[in-house]
């Protein structure tokens, strides 16, 4: 046991860990938002609801189909991603030529529908979801105690974030995506099916949200409103980072999670609001966001 700035190291590192966990979710969700915004020019307000659906999918798969956590990590994002594809085909496809504002309104409406339906069937109280046996317990790192599951969440989300960044910035498919973001008409002229790419991109972004939901299920209780408050914080993260860059979304997400964790140690009253305060400061100093390219 030792102390840093008068704070016991256990408490400090414990909150830093919690901050990193939150940061993992901020990063995964703002990454999904950035990917969707890049292709569809829509801010996906349903993102929080889709994160919640991911957590519920894991819960329901375990309860009724006996599918465990590890399989759910793969199955739930695919299932929820498919519902995303249906949403894109049914609704979002009609918004291409409209002001992006309508995309926000429509996805907001969808989020209300989904949250309302889940509250009807599952009530407002949280449902427990156990971490898998292999990840129970924890280990002592000398300076702090690390629960295995939490370490796993951080490692997995870093890996997923990196894979997404690599896929978009360093592969051929990613170069098509980036080209279609810049000039969809020209990319279509080269014989690439851009509308299908848009649909799949939305499905992928939704899948990322659902994956975050599955990862969150053992940490927070599974409840219908778990997404709606989170998504507002993620919006602030997106404003701070700017949606121009994939790496920006990831770095901002983790960094803000850590800042939030530190605030919990040094000034707990402000821990709910610190991200919004940072957003206000960033808007004053650098309106385009830390990684934003356009003003």
């Amino acid at each position: 046991m030792f102390e840093i700035f008068g704070i016991p190291s256990q408490a400090l590192f414990g909150q830093l860990l919690l901050g990193l966990i939150n940061g993992s979710f901020y990063a995964l969700l703002s990454l999904g938002l950035a990917v969707i915004f890049g292709m569809l020019n829509i801010i996906n307000f349903t993102h929080g609801a889709q994160y919640m659906m991911g957590a519920f999918a894991a819960y329901l798969l375990l309860q009724y189909a006996g599918i465990n956590y590890w399989a759910a990590l793969v199955v739930a994002p695919i299932l929820i991603g498919l519902t995303g594809i249906v949403i894109e085909r049914l609704f979002l496809v009609h918004l291409r030529k409209l002001d992006p504002l309508y995309g926000l309104l429509l996805t907001f409406g969808l989020a209300l529908i989904i949250e309302g339906l889940f509250r009807n069937y599952f009530g407002s109280s949280g449902l427990p979801y156990q971490a898998p046996d292999a990840l129970r317990g924890g280990r002592n790192l000398g300076f702090m105690f690390l629960p295995n599951y939490r370490g796993w969440v951080i490692v997995l989300s870093l890996a997923v974030c990196f894979a997404t960044w690599f896929g978009i910035e360093r592969t051929r498919l990613g170069s098509y995506l980036r080209a279609a973001t810049e000039n969809p008409v020209l990319v279509r002229a080269f014989g690439i099916n851009v509308p299908r790419m848009v649909t799949l991109t939305y499905g992928f972004g939704v899948g990322l949200a659902a994956l975050a939901g599955v990862m969150a299920a053992p940490i927070y209780n599974v409840s219908p409103q778990m997404g709606s408050d989170l998504i507002i914080v993620v919006f602030a993260v997106v404003v701070i980072g700017g949606m121009g860059s994939i790496m920006g979304a990831i770095v901002t997400g983790f960094a803000l999670g850590i800042v939030e964790g530190l605030t919990k140690v040094f000034y707990p009253e402000a821990s709910n609001t610190v991200i919004f305060v940072i957003m206000a400061i960033v808007l004053l100093v650098r309106p385009a966001g830390l990684f934003g390219r356009t003003a």
Binding site: P100, L105, L110, L112, G116, N120, V239, M279
Partner: protein, 323 residues
């Protein structure tokens, strides 16, 4: 250079079609006068407060094209200020309401300065985030009463004379204030200032190139909208004798957006119709619990996909008039 040069057609057209809007406003006022003899005044007062709230919101989204997702901030905090002044300090209602409006104006100026630094979708996200921040303040601050809110707010005597605890007197007061608020918005929208706002909505770059300091216009519009939303919130605090977290929560920002969208973005009377429709629906569907959320979401989806003009907008389009 003035706004007249920029959009002469709008000004010419206004003379021809103002009659229909005048008739519609007269009908609306007549309805407000007659309605309390047939419907619960408390329901009507709620709808009236929301009508003013939605009109104030529409001033921003409908006429400047700025979509705020955080208007609950001004509505809810003004209701806290008014409730606190009336209950704890024993202020008369008119003073408490003015305090609420000033508070909303100050908050509007701060939020506006931050939010207008970005356009479009970012503007929506910033206002939402700022409102959420103030929601957490309301949750933790002492004077708001946290989860309990401020209950049992006295309605008091207006100008020391009219006893507002009498239901019909309160109704008359609310009606006069709301109608005055709507007429004020009408005046703003149809002033040279309002023409510049509409020009900004249509093409901001062009306004900048014509020499308008668009950010100043947007900020003034934002503060006006926030102040009027605050007036609506202050009235609501007196009507229900309650200021609570519900009024500052993001769902309230969603509600006012729904009212405006359903009634018709950028129409003068659309938000009024939308407010009555949504408040009525919430009233009748209250026993069905969470289904209200589902239905509201469905209305959003239907409005965006099929019905972007809204009720009044469609009506105006059919009759080829401006409402």
């Amino acid at each position: 250079m003035t706004g007249r040069v920029l959009v002469p057609s709008a000004i010419v057209r206004r003379r021809d079609t103002d009659a229909s809007l005048g008739i519609a406003i007269a009908l609306m006022i007549a309805f407000f006068v007659v309605a309390p003899f047939f419907v619960y005044p408390i329901f009507l007062m709620k709808a009236l407060c929301f009508a003013l709230f939605a009109c104030a919101f529409n001033l921003l989204i409908g006429y400047v094209g700025l979509a705020s997702f955080g208007h609950a901030l001004f509505f809810g905090w003004a209701s806290y200020f008014t409730a606190y002044a009336a209950k704890t300090w024993g202020w008369p209602p008119e003073a408490a309401i003015i305090l609420g409006m000033i508070g909303a104006a100050v908050l509007g100026a701060i939020a506006g300065v931050l939010a207008i630094r970005r356009q479009g979708i970012y503007f929506a996200m910033i206002t939402l985030a700022l409102a959420q921040m103030m929601y957490f303040f309301a949750l933790e601050a002492k004077f708001t009463g946290g989860e309990d809110g401020i209950q049992g707010v006295p309605r008091g005597r207006l100008f020391g004379f009219f006893d507002l605890s009498h239901e019909m007197t309160m109704y008359a007061f609310v009606m006069v204030v709301v109608v005055a608020g709507i007429l004020f918005i009408y005046r703003v929208v149809n002033s040279p200032f309002g023409e510049v706002l509409k020009a900004i909505r249509e093409n901001e770059q062009r306004c900048v190139s014509l020499g308008f300091r668009t950010e100043r216009y947007k900020l003034v519009a934002f503060v006006l909208s926030a102040t009027l939303a605050g007036l609506a919130g202050s009235m609501k605090a007196l009507v229900f004798q309650l200021a609570s977290l519900t009024d500052v929560h993001w769902t309230m920002s969603g509600d006012v957006l729904l009212m405006t969208l359903l009634g018709g973005l950028g129409t003068m009377l659309g938000p009024v119709v939308g407010a009555f429709a949504v408040v009525g629906m919430q009233n009748y569907l209250a026993p069905f619990g969470q289904w209200v959320l589902v239905i509201q979401g469905a209305i959003f989806v239907v409005c965006v996909l099929l019905f972007r003009r809204g009720i009044v907008g469609e009506l105006a389009h059919l009759l080829r008039v401006r409402l």
